[in-house]
């Protein structure tokens, strides 16, 4: 009998923290803007003999903020530890990290996956109906602070080391192996990224490598509770790589079991070009990191007042905002999710509501549709069209000053050249006309010009009504109020029935 398998996925997410200086020294952490290699360096971050670390206060605060946002408890007593291994990007021969007592532990986050099977999810047995898929709660095992490594550029027969990145504060967010589908893993990663961006602790700029994923993957027969040998896929630098690598690895492991083999516990790399995971040279000692408390940095003892002071800095997070948008603005869950996926978009939406008379639902339709389309096509910043302008424009469509199509034209113009919506309408002569005698005149002319179409209509081809209305719109260059046009056209057609 053939078994069906389910994947067991855990994610480690490494995110750089947006501080001015490095984690353990006062060198600039902005390696991205450094014009030259090895210019943001000092004895500490290059591991010179005798140099010592000093911990960055801001980084600790940001780490705690993330911990709280992920529903973790903050360890009042937490310590730095040394993780010992040799690599040319690690100047001291150890990385200062946190081990036994990380800054935050035991949190959770809810994810949604259309394919999430009905399984017991980690620490919480309840399945939370959420969004349009099934939700489940993923336990966040720990959040800890560490330092980034130097950047290695691999040349043909050698490598070049740049220490500008060495010592940049890095947050590691480790989930329990609670994810059961690639989609759920993606949703989890996406939500973590959104939260980090909401908190302003990380730019989320994947291309710059400020956020990196590692996936721990095993598979097991459906219904089994065992945890089988897992592989660890390192250095996944995009959501696409995360999804492809995970999918590939799940299928690979299933094949191994089906052919009667055993999966080896090992570290894998992801070859994006070939679309396969590859075994890293097996280093038997690679995982004996010999952690021990960092003797150069005294333990951190945080109190309730300190934690509360961080907690009040927590902004409204994507999940809460989504719920509020659904409740307050009568949006569907997927509409709300789209708006809250980026803080700037959600803020823009609320700003537009403030300035508009039109309903939030209508504003959402515009933002999710035309606004996003223009944004993607124009390559400009979202705020190049102010929320106030957009609100004005939508209101003009709502109160029929202009037609919907004219509205689209105005928006495209706003993206292209900016300006004031009312001025654009005036300049382009887009204002809609609701004058009955004007529209009646146009309707009469079209009817007079098309006797054979009238005959067909009267013979039962009802769809022609739309054609007649369209002819009026063409004749009036879109200025005729379409609702009134349709009314008058129906009336005229009925009058001509014999």
């Amino acid at each position: 009998m053939k078994l069906t398998y389910e994947p067991v996925i855990g994610l480690e997410i490494h995110g750089e923290l947006l501080t001015k200086s490095k984690m353990f020294c006062s060198c600039s952490a902005d390696y991205g803007s450094a014009p030259e290699p090895n210019i943001n360096i000092c004895p500490t971050c290059t591991g010179l003999p005798g140099a010592m670390p000093t911990a960055n206060k801001k980084a600790l605060e940001l780490a705690a903020l993330v911990g709280l946002a992920l529903n973790c408890s903050i360890n009042k007593h937490n310590t730095f530890a040394r993780k010992n291994y040799f690599y040319p990007d690690l100047p001291k021969g150890y990385q200062i990290s946190q081990y036994e007592l990380p800054i935050a532990e035991k949190g959770w986050m809810d994810v949604t996956s259309p394919l999430t099977p009905l399984l017991k999810g980690g620490g919480n047995d309840s399945l939370l109906p959420q969004g349009e898929g099934l939700g489940m709660r993923v336990r966040v095992r720990r959040v800890h602070i560490e330092e980034d490594t130097a950047k290695l550029s691999h040349e043909k027969n050698y490598a070049l080391v740049d220490f500008n990145r060495a010592g940049v504060p890095l947050l590691e967010i480790v989930s329990e192996p609670d994810l059961r589908t690639v989609e759920a893993a993606l949703d989890y990663a996406t939500k973590i990224r959104a939260i980090l961006r909401y908190l302003g602790v990380n730019s989320g700029d994947m291309e710059k490598g400020v956020l990196r994923f590692e996936a721990n993957i095993s598979v097991r027969p459906v219904g089994s509770a065992e945890l089988r040998k897992r592989t660890e896929i390192k250095n996944l630098n995009s959501f696409r790589a995360l999804a492809r690598a995970s999918q590939y690895e799940i299928e690979r492991q299933i094949k191994v079991y089906e052919s009667g083999g055993e999966v080896l516990q090992e570290t894998l790399g992801w070859d994006d070009a070939r679309g396969i995971t590859t075994s890293q040279r097996s280093k038997e000692d690679a995982h004996d990191y010999r952690y021990f408390p960092e003797p150069d940095l005294p333990p951190l003892k945080l109190n309730d007042a300190w934690i509360d002071a961080i907690r009040i800095q927590l902004p409204e997070l994507p999940e809460a905002k989504t719920k509020r948008f659904i409740a307050d603005f009568e949006l569907t869950p997927s509409e709300a999710h789209l708006l809250t996926s980026e803080l700037s978009l959600a803020t823009y939406f609320e700003e537009a509501i403030k300035h508009a008379k039109s309903s939030p639902k209508i504003i959402n339709t515009w933002i999710a549709g035309e606004f996003m389309r223009n944004l993607n096509e124009s390559n400009v910043e979202a705020d190049s069209v102010s929320a106030r302008s957009l609100a004005q424009l939508i209101d003009m469509v709502t109160d029929k000053t202009i037609s919907g199509n004219a509205g689209k034209t105005v928006l495209t113009e706003l993206f292209k050249n900016g300006g004031d919506p009312a001025e654009i309408v005036k300049a382009k002569g887009l204002a809609q006309i609701s004058d009955e005698s004007f529209i009646q005149e146009a309707v009469t002319k079209i009817l007079n010009d098309n006797p054979s179409e009238i005959e067909k209509y009267h013979a039962g081809k009802d769809t022609l009504l739309q054609w007649f209305v369209g002819q009026v719109a063409r004749a009036t260059k879109g200025k005729a109020d379409p609702v009134m046009t349709k009314e008058l056209m129906l009336k005229g057609l009925e009058e001509r029935r014999k």
């Binding site: 010179l48 005798g50 010992n84 100047p91 004996d288 021990f292 003797p295």
Partner: protein, 490 residues
Amino acid sequence: MELTNLTIQEASELLKSKKISSVELTKATLDRIHNVDSKVKSYVTVTDELALQQAKQADERIAKGENVTPLTGIPFSMKDCISTRNVRTTCSSKILENYVPQYNATVTNKLADAGAVLVGKTNMDEFGMGSSCENSAFFNTHNPWDLNRVPGGSSGGAAASMSASLCNFSIGEDTGGSVRMPAGFCNVTGIKPTYGRVSRYGLISLVSSFDCIGPMTRDAYDCATVLEAIAGHDEKDSTTYQSAVPSYTQNINKPIKGMKLGISKEYFVAGMEAGVESAMQEAIRTYEKLGMEIKEVSLPHTKYGLPVYYLLLFAEASSNLARFDGTRFGLSVSDNAKDVIDIYLQTRHAGFGDEVKRRMMLGAYALSAGYYDAYYLKAQKVRTLLRRDFETALASCDILLAPTCPTTAFKLGEKTNDPLAMYLSDIYVVATNPAGVPALALPAGFSKDMPVGMQLIGKHLDEATLFQVGHAYQQVTDWHKRLPSLCHRR
């Protein structure tokens, strides 16, 4: 008057009253180094040029009467594990043989600011690992009192340079007796301050949680003077105390009558050389005469001091020495290296001596998966008990007295093939480092013509009492004034 035999206090008086210049004093010191140090071999590097330049600046300061401190113009030597910008800093290791730091240790800066004159860097056991200075990768240092004997370690070069009058004070470093044990062997006064009292920034770490930079001097008064100049909070060393440094010399002359001197029964057991034991009894009698009340106390975990000390040393050192990998500084061996790992393996094989290798490997063992709890964690817990021992004992007395070593200086080569026997010579000095308490080593007599050292152990941050009690002893004894024959006026 032999300039090189002067105490800091004496030399400073002569400088301030312009009876001598710093350039004269420095030249006399450098001359003596060039004449005598070929026998003692206490210096790894002599900084003639820099010294004369600093001496000249010191003379200008004195002439202008600006910023003159008790150390202005005074020649000193420094253990070669403390970073000196543009001056080779080797840790007496092949791996750093040609390493010239790009920055100064905080202590180096403080001494330069005080106007002290660096005449050279002193030999040591490689990276501080040893008790005889025989683990230097370069050469053995000889005990000025008997050139066939060791000066002790690991600050053997510092102690010998002081003892042979090759400087007016020396900066040593004590991880587990490295200042006190050689001070005892060489008839020098030296202090291991409270852990965290002196910045370690720029000190090439052996054991980050034990290492203490401390001065070695002719007497307790000088020791107080130098410590005052180098102690204090450093924002670059997060393990330093925030509290202000008191004046150590202000109350140094206060009578010690009525103070309580604790004697730990665990320190006076079989195995101690008879001459050492009688010197200790003599010192106790001296303190009794000075009006101190003698109290027997107990440090019940004393015998665990050595295993705790060495286990934690091995563990931390194995990590602290990982940065010496041949890619950014120091020795780099890359014969037919296919891979960066070959550079690591070859450089570290060629660059480190056997004792260093032994300790790094044992450290990796103690920290490795499966052994961490049994060794490292266990040692950290027993360390807490050692610390409590001192706290409890020092709650009932002001100060403890103990020898610095069960024997006087042993012969060169005597213990080099038996690491454990070598470790045992540190039995009296190691426990203070895991406990963090300060200890002052003082000359306490002679046994078969070789110096005997004793140490006073005090409460955390109570160096002032150590100096006061040490100074009182030196007011009524003259052991510390005795010089080896090679320093006698010819």
